[in-house]
């Protein structure tokens, strides 16, 4: 049995090197000039007090160009009276793949329209994957996401467990996405 030596396949668009490329050194020097030039340029920027990098020094410094639809920190949408729009149906906690949402429902006989409300609503951001499924699942549009994660990053995981008060801290003057219908005339029951 004879074995033929391996012949490498030649492709029609295979680049051909001229003598200049084959001499190797000039091309290497060209490459070094490019990388060295980038180094010197960035170094000059750092030396003169400007920033010579495209990356950011993350939690202290954040990018300005977060996308409009970026999924960041959660907010609990409020009714005009400041109570959470959440009806504690637990759909978000059920759909959550990281199982970070904990809701403790409570009953409020005074509010006939929304008798069930969350006594506790907590999100463990040390495990949250920011997938946005909770926002999709919510039937009441009660949970949304900001585009940023302000003050979230921390070296201590125990401070990353946010409760209802922090999530309700978001106070938009006017909710453009879904304006809450004004109070119907003659509704005197609710505060």
């Amino acid at each position: 049995m004879t074995r033929r030596t391996h012949v490498r396949k030649r492709y029609w668009n295979e680049p051909e090197m001229g003598w200049y490329e084959k001499a190797y050194l000039p091309e290497i020097l060209k490459g070094l000039a490019i990388t060295g030039g980038v180094f010197l340029r960035n170094m000059a920027k750092w030396m003169t007090g400007k920033k010579g990098a495209l990356t950011t020094y993350y939690p202290e410094e954040t990018r300005w160009d977060y996308a409009r639809g970026n999924r960041g920190k959660h907010v609990l949408v409020q009714r005009p009276d400041g109570s959470p729009q959440c009806i504690a149906c637990n759909l978000c906690a059920t759909v959550c793949p990281a199982k970070v949402i904990e809701i403790e429902a409570a009953f409020d006989p005074a509010d006939a329209a929304h008798p069930k409300y969350p006594a506790r609503f907590e999100i463990d951001y040390s495990r949250c994957v920011f997938c946005g499924l909770c926002v999709e699942a919510c039937p009441e549009d009660a949970i949304r996401m900001e585009k940023e994660v302000p003050t979230l990053p921390s070296p201590d995981r125990h401070v990353m467990w946010l409760g209802k008060e922090e999530l309700l801290a978001w106070k938009p003057a006017r909710d453009a996405a879904k304006p809450y219908p004004g109070r119907p005339a003659g509704d005197k029951d609710r505060p």
Binding site: T35, G36, A53
Partner: protein, 379 residues
């Protein structure tokens, strides 16, 4: 006698602190330079907090070297059930020690004349002068080759005693690669020996302090630009760094011949590599860049090509020479790091092909041409 001992101890302490300093600083330089070259910020999270306050000293990430060292010291010293525990334990030191020893013959300054430095010192030192290198050996170059050749043994020992296939493959690669490039390294320097007529490194440096063609400093790189390029390439290959890091190619061999090493033993391999960068810089400076001298400078002061001279006090000369040497070495280290972050890795057959079919003939041709020219000039 006591004076000689004191000066020797001083030189040794200086040399070791320079090498260790370079080893530590270069870990930082490598990270930061790579980051700046790639438009990044680079490692800067390690800090030292002043006790009792919330003031955190970051200093551009300079403390990352300390953090690394601490991590390596407190890490578990994991050992495989090796075939040969003795070779396993000895190998990092066989790699590390010769790297330090090479520096013994490199002159890091001109001649130190304590009596000229400060008159009252004459009472203790007399009228003696000391060349600023640890061992003033006539065969300095041979010592360098002898010691730098020994690191191969360490790499082979490490790979073999780990009883790991990746480690063994890495060791085999390291062995064949380092032997090939050692040859090129030797051949490139033979041309210099022909020109300088000596293998004493201090004499080589003194030979480079004049001028050639009236204005160029008589550096080795002017006489032998070709040999300088080949030497630097072969030296980087000898140090097993990218683009010649085949013995440690992470994507193929995990970590090559030190795959089975952990904690400070692994740290020794890394540290030896970083110190060797500085050693290569020092060797290149000594052979090709005029050593510790600035252009047109000698032990008395400056002698400019136009004929003008400027005498310097002895203390200024000594300090200038030491600083010049360090600056040249540092620039060369930076250049090696630039190469390391610019070029992609060779394939293994290309590495050996490059050594034997490209660099070896070129080095031989360079040597032959040098010899013929020297013969024609009647030297």
């Amino acid at each position: 006698m006591l004076a000689d001992l004191l000066v020797s101890v001083l030189f040794i302490v200086y040399a070791i602190s320079v090498l260790m300093g370079f080893g530590t600083i270069l870990t930082w330089v490598e990270r930061k330079q790579a980051a700046v070259m790639a438009d990044r910020i680079g490692a800067n999270r390690a800090y030292i907090r002043i006790p009792g306050t919330q003031v955190k000293l970051v200093w551009w990430g300079l403390f990352h070297g300390m953090a690394d060292g601490l991590k390596m010291l407190v890490k578990e010293d994991w050992k495989p059930r090796t075939y040969d525990w003795y070779a396993y334990a000895v190998a990092p030191w066989v790699v590390f020690t010769p790297v330090l020893l090479v520096f013994a013959v490199i002159p890091f300054g001109g001649t130190l004349h304590p009596a000229h430095l400060w008159a009252p010192l004459a009472g203790f030192f007399g009228d003696k002068s000391y060349p600023m290198q640890i061992a003033t050996l006539d065969g300095g170059l041979l010592i360098i080759f002898a010691f730098s050749g020994m690191t191969i043994i360490g790499a082979m020992l490490a790979g073999w005693s780990s009883s790991n296939k990746f480690a063994l493959l890495g060791a085999l690669r390291a062995g064949s690669q380092m032997i090939s490039y050692e040859l090129v390294l030797g051949l490139t320097l033979l041309g210099l020996i022909l020109i300088y007529g000596t293998v004493n490194l201090d004499a080589m440096v003194r030979h480079q302090s004049g001028t050639v063609l009236g204005f160029l400093p008589a550096w080795g790189i002017v006489y032998q630009p070709f040999a300088a390029t080949l030497f630097l390439t072969a030296a980087i290959a000898e140090n097993k760094r990218i683009p010649f890091d085949l013995p440690e190619a992470e994507s193929e061999l995990i970590a090559g011949y030190y795959t089975e090493y952990s904690a400070m033993k692994m740290g020794l391999f890394m540290f030896a590599e970083f110190i060797e960068i500085a050693i290569i810089g020092a060797l290149f400076t000594t052979f090709f860049l005029g050593g510790y001298n600035l252009p047109y400078m000698n032990d008395a002061g400056f002698a400019f090509p136009g004929g003008g001279t400027a005498a310097l006090p002895h203390g200024a000369v000594v300090v200038t020479q030491m600083v010049t040497f360090l600056a040249k070495v540092f620039l060369l280290c930076s250049f090696q790091i630039l190469i390391r972050w610019s070029l992609p890795r060779f394939r293994y057959d290309q590495v050996l092909m490059f050594a034997w079919k490209f660099m070896f003939p070129l080095a031989l041709a360079n040597l032959v041409i040098t010899a013929v020219v020297m013969w024609a000039l009647g030297k």
